[in-house]
């Protein structure tokens, strides 16, 4: 139990500059806040504040560089401004799980929409565009496994046809950056079953009925 508290405390010190400041001001108060026992208080004394700050900074830069793959253009044009906002954002939200980098990028995009400090319009527009395919991909993946099974998806599109209405299909290239192609498909195309049968096996795609 006690090591658990020590780990929770050290994690808080890694992630929050406010916690680090409080700990530097009075280590005992911080230790008591996390109910550390005496032996763990001793272990905590080994932490070097400067080295801790260095580690915390490197965590933030690492996270920032990781999300760059999802917003390359925005990074290219607005890197300095993004970094400023990211510093604030990174302390307010911490993603978790195997897909945490996508989640982090999307929630950073959301953060910029409601940020207290000024965010340039062109930045918000560009990041919105770049994150759009990832957002759709991520949300749909979270909601359903349908899109993982190419055959099922194909039958879904067919079913959509019988249900009436137009079908919008968005192709996502999951090999590299997503390439989005959207089109209104005339239902007749499904009778031909072409060219989608080949597309299905090399691309992921999402079908939305209107």
């Amino acid at each position: 139990m006690s090591l658990q508290s020590l780990q929770e405390l050290s994690t808080a010190l890694y992630l929050s500059s406010a916690e680090r400041e409080a700990w530097k001001r009075n280590a005992d108060v911080t230790a008591n806040k996390y109910s550390l026992d005496n032996s763990d208080k001793e272990l905590l004394k080994n932490l070097n504040p400067e080295r801790l700050r260095f580690y915390a900074d490197s965590l933030k830069s690492k996270r920032f560089n990781e999300i760059a793959q999802f917003i390359p253009e925005t990074m290219k044009k607005f890197r300095a401004e993004l970094w400023q906002h990211f510093q604030e954002y990174a302390e307010s939200y911490v993603p978790i799980g195997c897909k945490k980098v996508v989640a982090d990028s999307l929630s950073f995009g959301e953060f910029l929409k409601v940020a207290n400090t000024h965010v340039s319009n062109s930045l918000t527009e560009l990041i919105k565009q770049e994150l759009a395919p990832w957002r759709m991909n991520f949300l749909l993946e979270k909601q359903s496994n349908l899109y993982k099974a190419s055959k099922t998806t194909f039958y879904t599109i067919q079913a959509n046809r019988y249900l009436g209405g137009k079908t919008k299909i968005i192709f996502l290239n999951s090999e590299s950056r997503p390439f989005v192609f959207s089109a209104y498909i005339h239902p007749a195309i499904f009778f031909l079953k072409l060219p989608f049968s080949s597309v299905i096996y090399t691309w992921r795609f999402i079908a939305i009925s209107f």
Partner: protein, 287 residues
């Protein structure tokens, strides 16, 4: 003198020298596949895979022996392992059916908070017990041999054990192999002022299965293991030393940042292969 190396490690085949699979290198890796003996893949990248990722993994698995490397299981987590995370990495590793797989002696998350990188553990016997329990949980889900990596760190929580004793206790009690990262060792030896050779003499070197080699960079007087440059001379010396002491089953050049021209990576692969080739007749593992 009889070998101290456990028989399950002795029986593992030698894979040679490979590289860490990175998307940016994908095409070059395929075209140069005859020069690369095996690949290390980041397991998490293929968790809940898309169709494209599944195709990629299947193709890679056909051409190369793959060794899955896990980054975020947080083996040292005193509140236990995340069952969902465990399930996801297990499904990838069990699908690959690798000769072995690797994880870290570290923590990456506590409760619902993800640290975002590997962080050091307090070096206490209580911690040894916790990590061994977590390893035993993970071994029930993943039957392939597990090897553990020494991490680099810029700060420490101390503890009653030295770093070498801590590694020895964990590796031996959990009957794991060692993934010895020589750059991590070199960086720690620089940042905490000790002799890396003495370190190597004190760890169970006979349990080394695989090595990581790469270079880093200096920042604010700290040597950072950023995987951003070629292995420095001292790392090559450490490799020669380890190779003279135990049979190495595989070496991975772990380049992540500042990726150079691919030929440069292949040059490092060749250099490591040359050192391994001298091992052909080395039979005795002794610490």
């Amino acid at each position: 003198m009889p070998s101290l190396t456990p028989s399950w490690i002795q029986k593992l085949p030698s894979l040679g020298v490979g590289i860490g699979f990175r998307k940016a290198l994908k095409q070059k890796i395929f075209t140069s596949h005859t020069q690369i003996d095996f690949l290390e893949i980041i397991t998490e990248h293929y968790a809940q895979p898309s169709f494209g990722q599944l195709q990629e993994l299947t193709r890679l698995n056909k051409i190369f022996p793959l060794i899955p490397h896990v980054l975020g299981s947080s083996l040292g987590n005193a509140s236990g392992l995340n069952p969902q995370y465990l399930k996801e990495i297990a499904s990838v590793i069990n699908a690959i059916k690798p000769l072995w797989w690797s994880d870290h002696i570290a923590i990456t998350s506590t409760g619902n908070l993800d640290i975002g990188h590997l962080a050091p553990l307090p070096r206490t016997m209580e911690m040894v017990k916790i990590i061994c329990e977590n390893i035993s949980t993970i071994k029930k889900k993943i039957k392939y041999p597990l090897i553990l990596e020494n991490i680099s760190f810029t700060h420490t929580l101390g503890g009653e054990l030295t770093e070498e004793e801590f590694i020895k206790e964990i590796i031996e009690r959990s009957d794991c192999g060692l993934l010895l990262d020589l750059m991590n060792l070199y960086a720690n030896s620089q940042n905490f002022h000790y002799d890396p050779i003495e370190f190597l003499d004190r760890i169970p070197i006979e349990r080394v299965v695989q090595l990581h080699i790469i270079g880093g960079h200096w920042e604010e007087g700290i040597l950072v293991d950023s995987h951003s440059s070629a292995p420095p001379a001292r790392v090559w010396e450490l490799l020669e030393y380890v190779a003279s002491r135990t049979k190495i089953k595989g070496i991975i050049i772990e380049w992540d940042e500042n990726l150079p021209a691919f030929d440069r990576i292949l040059t490092e692969v060749k250099r490591a292969k040359k050192i391994l080739s001298k091992q052909g007749t080395l039979k005795v593992s002794f610490a």
